[in-house]
Every structure is written in structure tokens, then in C-alpha cells.
Symmetry: D2
Subunit: 326 residues, 4 copies
């Protein structure tokens, strides 16, 4: 029988799956905004540092920024909050720009399957963190930036300013100081990786830069805008800057998908179906390649450290629009 070459299987006409029309994002966001009310206080606001615990639990904002520049927003979508671990996405992008695939010699690309600050795998795997979106991996990424830039956190702030066009973006010094006082676990990880030779700068230097980058404040519209380069083949629409080549942008999205939501990645992908990065400040930033970026903010967290109402809202968004990467 012919092995190589084209052939046709005659499928019955009714088998074709109808494609969806462009959804009415604004209407859907407003509907989500109404429906989410009972979920907004169901989670638990992060309280491991006092500054984060002060944020009112009932805040909720959500914004979609489409590749054509249209912004759809509801609620507190323009109120800034502490982006926390979402900063790992921007730091990783910068480090990936600097080192390319050599970055993966120092940090892996696999889901962790354990709590986000676990030292267990770090020991088994000899100081090489599972991926750049868990704390250990983010410390390696920050180490890369600290080695390249005198002020790693300043370089990062400037980067998100360029991605958004918002010149007044900055980190909050009180939040950063508060983090620094509660960084024992991260310090343990930094020294531990140093013991395996996987940290090039002094641990305390890396810890300080890391605490500052976590304390950057942005709002939903700014975050969605900043992530658009991932949906746009690596080019930031605001500035036209080529952040990454198209293939690298796709790969970074892939990494977000498998590793971006702590150890709930499997559940998140199942329910939401978008590459995303979350933070304990209550923000979740997600991307629909070729289409848009979306950011939701609600400070109450679920057991995995992801925004409880945020995950729910994104699940409704992809279910109601029929849009996801699958």
C-alpha cells in the first residue's frame, strides 16, 4: 500500500465543528463581574507579610487587551496592586533575552508537582530548580539579572515601563522591605543553591533584588498590555520592540502553561486552557496567542496560592467565549 503521499478520507458533511464568531468581550466581562460577587470574599488574602494583608479582600478587576489595541475592562481594572510572582514572567523574559537556551542549563522547564517553595526537589536535583516560575527558579533568574545589571530591579522596572508605556510604574518600597524581613525561606533556597554552585552573586544581593521585583505595582490593563508580546509573535505592540523571536515567545508561553500557576498547573490548564502566571497579590495574567492578553485581580487566594475568584473568572471567560488554546 502507498505509504507516502496525500489521500482523502471522505468525512460526512455534518462532522465539521463550527467555528465561533468573535465574542463580545465587554458584555462577557460585565457578566463575569456580576456573577463573581459571591466568590470575591471566598479566598484568603495573603498574610505572610503585613503589607499584603492590608489589601481589601473584595477588590476585583479584570481587563482584556486585544492585539488591535482595544481594551475591555471591568471593576478595579485600573487600580494598581502588588504583582508579586507575576514579576517572574518579566524577569524570565529578560533573562531569556540575555542567555537564550543557555538559561535552561541553570533552571529546568518541568512542572514541580510540589508546593511553590519546596526545597525537596532542589535537593534531589542538585540545586537546579524545576522551572523559572517557582521561587527557587526565579532566584536563579534574578541572579542572572543581578550579574548583568547593577540594579536588577531597576532594569526590570524599566522593562515593564517599555512594555506598557506607563512611565510611572515602580516597586513599592514598604512592600519590598516587608518581604525582605520575611524572606527566611527564600534565603534558605538561595544559600542552598549557592551550595550547589548555582548562584553567582551573593545570596543577599539576589534576595534584595528579588524582593523588590516582587513589589512592583501594576494594574490589570497594564499587565495585560505588558504580556501582549507573547500573543504577538514576540513583538510588543505598544513600542514595536522585538522582545523575543516568534519561536521563543511561543516557548515562553508553553512554559507558563505548564508551570505558571504553582502546583495547580494541571487543574488550571484543564479548567481555563490558557498560559498564565499568577501572583499571591491576587493577580493572574493570561494570554490567548494571536488574539489578546487578559488580567484578573482579586486578592483572596485558594489553597494553591492562586486568586480564587481570578481562576473562576478566567474559567468562565474561556467557557463563555469558547476561546482557549484547545
Amino acid at each position: 500500500m502507498l505509504q507516502t503521499g496525500c489521500a482523502i478520507i471522505a468525512f460526512p458533511a455534518h462532522a465539521r465543528h463550527p467555528s465561533m464568531d468573535k465574542p463580545d468581550y465587554q458584555a462577557i466581562l460585565e457578566q463575569i463581574h456580576r456573577d463573581i460577587a459571591p466568590w470575591r470574599t471566598a479566598g484568603r488574602v495573603a498574610d505572610y507579610i503585613p503589607e499584603l494583608a492590608k489589601v481589601p479582600a473584595e477588590r476585583f478587576g479584570m481587563a482584556i487587551v486585544a492585539l488591535d489595541g482595544t481594551v475591555y475592562a471591568v471593576g478595579d481594572a485600573r487600580e494598581r496592586f502588588s504583582i508579586q510572582s507575576i514579576s517572574k514572567l518579566f524577569a524570565c523574559t529578560l533573562a531569556f533575552q540575555l542567555l537564550g537556551d543557555a538559561l535552561w542549563d541553570r533552571v529546568g522547564r518541568e512542572p514541580s508537582g510540589n508546593a511553590f517553595n519546596s526545597l525537596v526537589q532542589l535537593e534531589t536535583e542538585r540545586g537546579k530548580p524545576r522551572n523559572p516560575f517557582i521561587n527557587a527558579g526565579a532566584l536563579v533568574v534574578t541572579d542572572v539579572l543581578c550579574r548583568r545589571f547593577v540594579g536588577a530591579e531597576t532594569a526590570l522596572v524599566q522593562f515593564v515601563r517599555r512594555l506598557t508605556g506607563a512611565a510611572d510604574l515602580d516597586y513599592d518600597l514598604r512592600v519590598a522591605s516587608s518581604e525582605l524581613q520575611h524572606a527566611a525561606r527564600n534565603r534558605a533556597m538561595a544559600h542552598f543553591m549557592a551550595s550547589f554552585g548555582n548562584l553567582q552573586m551573593p545570596p543577599e544581593t539576589v534576595i534584595e533584588a528579588y524582593c523588590r521585583q516582587c513589589a512592583i505595582e501594576m494594574n490589570c490593563v497594564e499587565l495585560a498590555t505588558a504580556a501582549l508580546f507573547l500573543a504577538n509573535g514576540g513583538v510588543a505592540p505598544v513600542s514595536g520592540e522585538h522582545i523575543l523571536d516568534a519561536s521563543s515567545a511561543k516557548r515562553l508561553s508553553a512554559l507558563m502553561l505548564t508551570c505558571g500557576t504553582y502546583d495547580a498547573a494541571g487543574d488550571f490548564v484543564y479548567r481555563v486552557g490558557l498560559p498564565a502566571k499568577s501572583g499571591v497579590g491576587g493577580g493572574i495574567l493570561a494570554v490567548l496567542p494571536g488574539e489578546m492578553a487578559v488580567c484578573v485581580w482579586s486578592p483572596g487566594l485558594d489553597a494553591n496560592g492562586n486568586s480564587l475568584a481570578g481562576v473562576k473568572s478566567l474559567e468562565w471567560l474561556t467557557t463563555r467565549t469558547g476561546q482557549s488554546i484547545f
Copy 2:
């Protein structure tokens, strides 16, 4: 400031990412077929059962079946092989049809982060396997089928016959017997889950059905055809049968993405960017939603148990076509 409502960010015109034209699949497959030659013998053929070890290492086949019924094929794309763990996808689909989301009470949806036959997590997590695509999870899925059907393996064979239209599909009895004689690890897992109350049928019944379903033989074209329902909103194009609703089909694809390639899922998603399920027989079956399914076969495996040339070929396919879910 206005929080809710639409707005426009003025993006410079040059920032838009150009969409790709429809790729010439046949040309790209033929190019891959040529380029892959040196990789075909780089992997290691599975030898844990004698029947699998007999397959010549240099075999290579690859087939794309588009949603319009066009088949693109190269090499040994129409030679049947032992589908092994790819059967987990079809078994899971059947069990998901039967139980819906109740299935997830008995098996999780998270990547395992450990070797595919690990008992460690099974102990920590009290007999609930991480996901349906590792052996432990597949045994639970088979237990579901054994409870519903007198012959679980027969039900599964009939299912893949309907999905492909190939009435002569069957499992190979010698391979199944050989598996049964080397199933000590799977027996350990079955008894272990039974000790936690997560197996309803006798362990040996489940083991036998499992060994037979792994021994089903199909070729690349048949496998790609059988998976099309996942790319087609849950409807099998061959028969028009509604296998799953659109949302469930997406979710099953999501699960394949995070859990379908053993503990290399992160690396696979990074390199290939498609939901996929691999088997130690050397087959990998992947799906591009809304577009096509693709299957590659090359018996030599990498350290994670995935076809070495198969992963490489799929990476080239998504890179050269610019097509992936990201």
C-alpha cells in the same frame, strides 16, 4: 478614572504579528522524513517485554489527518504497531464519557513530576493517582471500564474501530500475554490502590484488561484519524458520532498537554507545543485543535520513554509550519 468599559490603545501599525498561510504539510513531512534519518536509530527500543524488543529500530512513519479528511503520510505510516500507552487516551475518553467529572474523584489531573510508574506519589496521595496517563491512573480508568463492560478491552477495541472506521483493528494476543508476564510493577500498583479502596474490581481482572488494551495495534493514519474528535469539538469526523461535548474535548486535550508525555511534559510542550500522548511502542499522537491530528512512529525511545525521533519530528513540524497551540 473609568474602570469599566472599552477603550483603545493606539498601537503602531508595524506591531501586528502576521498570520501564517496554510502550510504545505506533505512537503514538510517529506522533508522531515529525509532529515530524521540519523535520529532513527539514536533511541533505545523498549525491551521490557520480548515482543516489543523484536520491532526493528529503524522503522519510521508519520501521518497528518486534517479535519477536511486529507491524509498526509510518509514512511511506515500505514504499518501497524503496538500503541501501548496511547491506549490510555482512548480508555480515558471512554471512562470520561461514562463518569464525567466524577472520574476526577478517583484520579487527579496534575503532572506527576516523577517516573511514569512511581509508587511514591501514590502513597503520599493515599492511592489517588496523579492523572489518567500514568500507569496507576490508567489502571483506575481500566477499573472503571471493567466495572461497566464485561470485556473492557473489547469495548475499547470497538471504540477505536468506530473512531477510525477500520473494522479489523484488534489487540495482539502474544504481546498481551508477554505484558501479563512482566506486570509485577503494575500488579504492585493495583494492589496498592486496592489497599486504599481505589479499585473496585479484583486487581488481576484489571491487570489483564490493561495488558490487552496496551497491546492494541494501529498505524499512524489510524491513530491520527481516531484522535480527530479532540480537534473537532468532540465530534468524530469519520462517523459523526458525538464522543464528548466541545468543552470536555478541550479539557481532555488540556490533560494530554500537561500529562501525556510522562515526566517530560514540560520539555515536550516547550519544544513541540501540542497536546500529545506517547507510548513505549514508539508512537506519539498529537492534536492541533481546529486543524488536524498527527501521529509519528519510531521505536527508539529517549530517557523519558518517548520516541526520540518522534519528539524531534514533531518539534520540526511545529517549528517549520509555525503552527502550535501557542
Copy 3:
């Protein structure tokens, strides 16, 4: 300075630690019998098999058998109970007789540090159990006996008859059957070790023999008598039989000390200071080398699976007599 040779350090006369007189064992046992009353119902009787759950929780017996043949006993010291894991001591002695140090190629000599039926270490350590006193290790020991004797459990019964002189000792068939019906976890371990090649007989054969040996019934006096060979340089005082050479007897005691009380070995040695083996039937058998053996029975267990009142009684015994190995 002189390095080799004798010298004297002048210690002040008052520094010598006074040795204790021979304690009045019977008086101390009777005192313990009185004091233990409130502890007798504090533990939880093993209920994983119905036959064990039937034993009244308030039973308590304790017996010391000195090397000169004197028996000191209180309470239910002559009522037989299910020796359960204490049988591991006798099975290990037999296997050690058969194989000598070659036994340690198949089973280790280190404390487990995990729950007594854990499969985790078994996986990490490629099917070689940590020691012969956890279930996995005892299954390997039973495998050794099954290979050597047609009826491993009969050989073991005959061995304890010789050690005690009690010709009517036997296992309880109902308990053995009950164990066999609840042996899923042990079956999992047997198949798992078989998958690593560390089981030579069929798993089910080993499991049956193991369940029967656990169901042997003995009383405190019989158990203490049976263990005297360990306190007596390897010679059983009842029969004069040389069970082990003096060095091997010491080594088996050493193994009991570090591994005999599940994962509470450190705590037990700290509190009691005697080599001992416990069972979920509520018995604990301990040895004071050169002096005596002691057995206590109280069915209520602590969180580690050791008799709660039993551990307490032994702690009082060594504290009140000032006798221990330290």
C-alpha cells in the same frame, strides 16, 4: 610524647559510679501492674482485621524470664495473644541461620524512618527493604524460608516450640485467613519487590506464609523464654540448642534495637534502652543481654503501632531497676 602504651589518669575517688544490686523483679513488676491501670485503655486496639479488634483492650500481662530460669510474672502473662510482627524476630533468626551475612544482600540493616509499610524507600532503594523488621523486609525473609521449607509457617511454629518447650504452640487459622483478606498493601509490596527481582517464590505463596506466621499465638512467658538465646550468647537455655553464634546473637539484638519498634526506634531506645520487637497484637518482647528477657502485652496501641501501656511499662522497668544496655 609517648603515644602507645598504658598510663593512669588519677581520678578522684568519689567519681566512681556505684553499681546497682540485683533488683527485686517481682516487686517491681507488681508495682508496674498497679501503676499501669490508667494507661491500659489509653491506646487503640488494632482493627485492620476483625479478629484482632475482638481482643479486650484492658488485658495486661508482663513476664521476665531470667537466664537462671526464674520466671517473674504479673497479670495476663500466661494468656496467649497474636504475636503478629514479633514473629519477624523468629523468622529473621531462622533466615539468618540459613544464609548468614548473605541475608544482608537482600535486606538492609538501617532504620526506616518512615511508616512500617512504606513503599517509598522500597522504590528509591530498588526493591531492597531497609531492614527485616518492617513488612517489606519480613516478606523477603519469608521468601527465604518459603524457598527452603515446603511449609515456611510450619518450620517457624516448630522453631518457637523448640525455643519454648511448649509443644502446643500454633498459629490461629481464623486470624491468618482474616489477615489474608486484608493483605492488599503487603501484596503490593511483594509484587513490587518481585518487579525488582528481590522475590524468588510466587508473591501469593509468600503472602500466605507471612499471614500465617503473624497469626502465631504465644503468651508473655513463652515469648520471653523464646528470646532468651539472644541474652545468652546464642544458646537457647530451654534446650541447649545453639541457635546462633555469640557474635551473631549480639548483632541480631543490635538490629532489634535500631529497627524493632517501627519508626519510633529512636524514641523507644531513648525511653527504654533495650533491644525489642513489638507487634500490633500489643506484645513487646525485649532483651537485657547477659541477664533476662522480658515481654509485656497490652492491646492498645500508640500512634506508631507499639503497645502504649507496653512501652510505658518497659520504660518504668528500666528506670526503676536502673538496668538497661546503657
Copy 4:
């Protein structure tokens, strides 16, 4: 049948195990000194800090100090070396004096079953180290001393001076500095325990004191003399000082037995049969209660970090004298 009360079992006369005469320690030590020659260079000198790597591998000393003050010595028994982890025994004694059983709220008493600097169990067990003889546990012990004494290492030096009567004992500043520069792993553990609230002083303070106490230098005779209080009911023979009550001294010996030789405790107890504490400087200090203390020094280590020739020598000592705690 009578349950409570004395009885006699008639044992045949030949069954009694003959007690050994007092062994000729000096002759046995000299024989060991001769026989050990080929083993002295079989191990691997610790090289994780440069100062330790400088010690000649072929050094070998051994000393027994009996409770009557007789010193038996061979080889380099009066040459001082870095006691390293043997200091954990003295530090633990001091902390146990200070806190009594309250010490065990902060550090456990179970063997670790893992490598001596593992963070895995520390994470699972929420910052409470397994025992005071692994590094993590010793850091907690040092934290106790740092809180009580302005200079914890000075208090410890003064303690060992009192135990030995050697007024010139001290730590080596170069070794301490060298340790401090290679303390990344210990720093990681200190910060990690701090993150669980199980460190009361600043991590760096504890680390410095810890590095200094490890750098104390003593010889075999001094170490054996210092440990005599454990063999002597808690009273130090040199000074008559009551270090611990008799029961606590026994318990500390028990702890040494189960936890004193890293994760080879089971093997060590099996082969040697004495409570002991080893250090990576090549020293092993052991105790025979009621009789003597013995110290051996040979810098080459086995895979577990214990002196290779040291363990062998102690095994020969207890085998040839017939003396052990069993």
C-alpha cells in the same frame, strides 16, 4: 493457672553463656594497630574545606580510657585533630543540661535515614530536625547555647576543658574561618529553620558559633576522657562534676547509638555495638557503659562520612574483647 508470681523453668546446666574475663586492652589495641595498616589509606580524607584536606591520610590513633583512670593508647593517640561533628555530643550535653527534656520540643530523637545534611525531612517535618547529631539538629542546639551564652563556642571550649582537665584545648581559627566560607548548606538550613520559627538567634550568629565549635581540636585520649561521664552515670571522673543525672546520661548514650553515625547508624550498631559519635575529621568516640570510653582517629572516610579504618578498628575491638552493649 497462676498468672502473677515467681516460678522456675529448669534449664539444662550447659545452657549458661560463660562471661568473659576482663580483656587485655593494650594487647588488643596493639594488634588492631598492626592489622589496620592496609585500611588506613582506603578511605577518602574530607576535602570540602582546604584545612581538613591537608591532614595526612595515614594518621591513626586509638585510645581507651577505663573508668579506673587507666589509659590504653596506640599510634597517634595524643595528636590533636579537628573534632568536627564530635563536638555535637558536647554541645548537645550542654543544651540538655540547660533545657532538660524541653530540648526535644525543638529537635527530635529519631534516626534520619537520609544524608546528614538533608533538607528534605526538615521540610516534611516543619523545621524540626530529626535529632541533635545531624547538622540541622546541631544548629538548633547551637542556637540554644547562643541564646544562653554570649560566646557559645567559648562556653563549649570551657566545658571540654573541664571534662578533660586539659586547660589548653581550643578551636583552630583557620579551620573555623575555612568552614565559614563553605557553610552555604548550613546557612540554607539555618534560614530554613528560621522560616519555621525554630531558630531564636540570627542565623549568621548561629553559623559562626557552629563553625567554631566544629573546629575544636582534641586528641583520642582527651576525647575518650571527656566522654567518660556517659559511662559513669553522668559524673565526670576527672573533676567529679555531675554533668547529667544517671538516667539522662543513659538517654544521651541511647541517642548516640541510634543517631550518632550519620545514616549508617544501623550498620554501625550491627558491626560495633557501642553508642558512638563520629566526625568528618576522622574521629569516632564510643562508650561502653560502666566500663570505659574509646576514641579512634583515622582521617580517611567511608561513603557515609565515618572514618573507614575507625569503624573497622572499633568492630575488631568489640569482636576481639567480646565486649559491647549487647
